[in-house]
């Protein structure tokens, strides 16, 4: 049995590593609030604060996977609510493009995703990160992790 199969089989024990690039004006504050309210974060979540999700380059998404993430999530302001006008829309388009790059590699496109929220929606922060965790649990560990 390969490493990957064995990791996949133990899916109940599988704790996805998810990197979340969080806009400092919305998602990062929502995460803070969720913490203060003890709403509970999904396990295995790595939060990276960015000034605007428009700053998240494609290569950050790929390198996160190279470094062992099972999934990468961008958490941006709601559309029409970006301090820098269109950073969140550019982030959405980049996620769409990144999915094509993953497809070229034969990797599951859903390993990269985007969600939108506001600074005063801590429950939504937990929902979005939890939903990503469930999605990645369905996919199983990243094949790259098994080949590290």
């Amino acid at each position: 049995m390969s490493d990957q199969e064995s990791l996949g089989k133990e899916s109940d024990d599988f704790c996805p590593r998810i990197v979340a690039f969080c806009c400092q004006r919305s998602a990062y504050r929502a995460a803070d609030l969720a913490g203060e309210m003890h709403l509970g974060f999904p396990e295995g979540l790595d939060i990276i604060q960015v000034p605007c999700t428009g700053r998240v380059d494609l290569v950050y998404l790929l390198r996160s996977l190279e470094e062992g993430a099972d999934g990468v999530l961008i958490l941006a302001c709601f559309e029409d609510n970006c301090k820098y006008i269109s950073g969140n829309i550019r982030a959405r388009r980049r996620v769409e493009y990144a999915r094509k790059l993953l497809k070229e590699l034969g990797l599951e496109e859903k390993r990269v995703a985007i969600g939108n929220l506001a600074s005063n929606t801590p429950h939504r922060f937990v929902e979005l990160t939890q939903a990503m965790r469930e999605e990645i649990k369905k996919l199983g560990p990243s094949p790259l992790r098994a080949k590290q």
């Binding site: 494609l58 790929l62 390198r63 996977l65 190279e66 790059l101 070229e104 590699l105 790259l144 080949k147």
Partner: protein
């Protein structure tokens, strides 16, 4: 500017298959502006190639380096140290840049990372359109600033053809008929009389059909 698009990944994977360490090079000018072969695109390609190799159970080492312009000796020389460490070089510059790198490093395989497309301009953010085919004998002073060679599907000099309909080209209805545009442009500029002139048969030897072209400026030579 010269525009390009990244080559399909599987083609590049095949080119580098025998290598364990490669140099992925970007060009800091035209292909940076059109997002096909600048420093960011070199980093993305290098990452994809490492991932692809790892998925196959092996390792690929990559170095990345971008210079101002790959179409000049002075700049490509900057690759020397990194190139010495690598078995092959991928150039993400246009065809001119790739050939300059290949000539500068004759002992290394040099692979194209992009397909060079055309001389053009960004019509709007994210959309590039062809504008010039380097004919070597410009007629833009007679055509209202619109190139009939680059923009007419039939390269007509005395257009439009009878297939022009509602301002669109019969070869591809998505494209504007440049001869309709030339008419509109000359009218707006009060120069419709230019249209009365018949262009004589054209000597294409100034274009690519006369063999590859060389420009010499003796006053600039050292």
């Amino acid at each position: 500017m010269i525009t390009a698009v990244r080559k399909p990944l599987n083609e590049i994977i095949e080119m580098v298959a025998p290598c364990e360490k490669i140099l992925v090079t970007g060009c800091g000018t035209c292909v940076t502006i059109d997002y096909s072969g600048g420093a960011k695109e070199a980093a993305i390609l290098a990452s994809q190639l490492r991932i692809a190799r790892r998925l196959g159970g092996k390792k690929l080492e990559t170095l990345e380096q971008t210079v101002e312009r790959q179409c000049e000796w002075e700049f490509v020389k900057e690759f020397t140290d990194h190139a010495a460490e690598c078995q092959a070089i991928i150039s993400m510059a246009c065809g001119a840049g790739i050939q300059t790198v290949a000539a500068a490093f004759p002992d290394k395989p040099v692979f194209p990372g992009v397909n060079t497309r055309f001389i053009g301009m960004p019509q709007k953010q994210g959309v590039w359109e062809e504008r010039c085919i380097c004919c070597g004998n410009c007629v833009l002073h007679l055509t209202g600033g619109l190139c009939p060679f680059a923009r007419c599907a039939k390269t007509l000099l005395n257009g439009p053809c009878e297939g022009s309909q509602d301002g669109k080209c019969e070869v591809n209805r998505e494209l504007d008929c440049v001869w309709q545009q030339i008419y509109d442009s000359l009218k707006e500029r009060g120069r419709l009389a230019d249209l009365q002139k018949i262009f004589p048969l054209r000597d294409w030897s100034t274009g690519e059909d006369g063999g590859y072209r060389i420009t010499v400026r003796e006053d600039m030579m050292l």
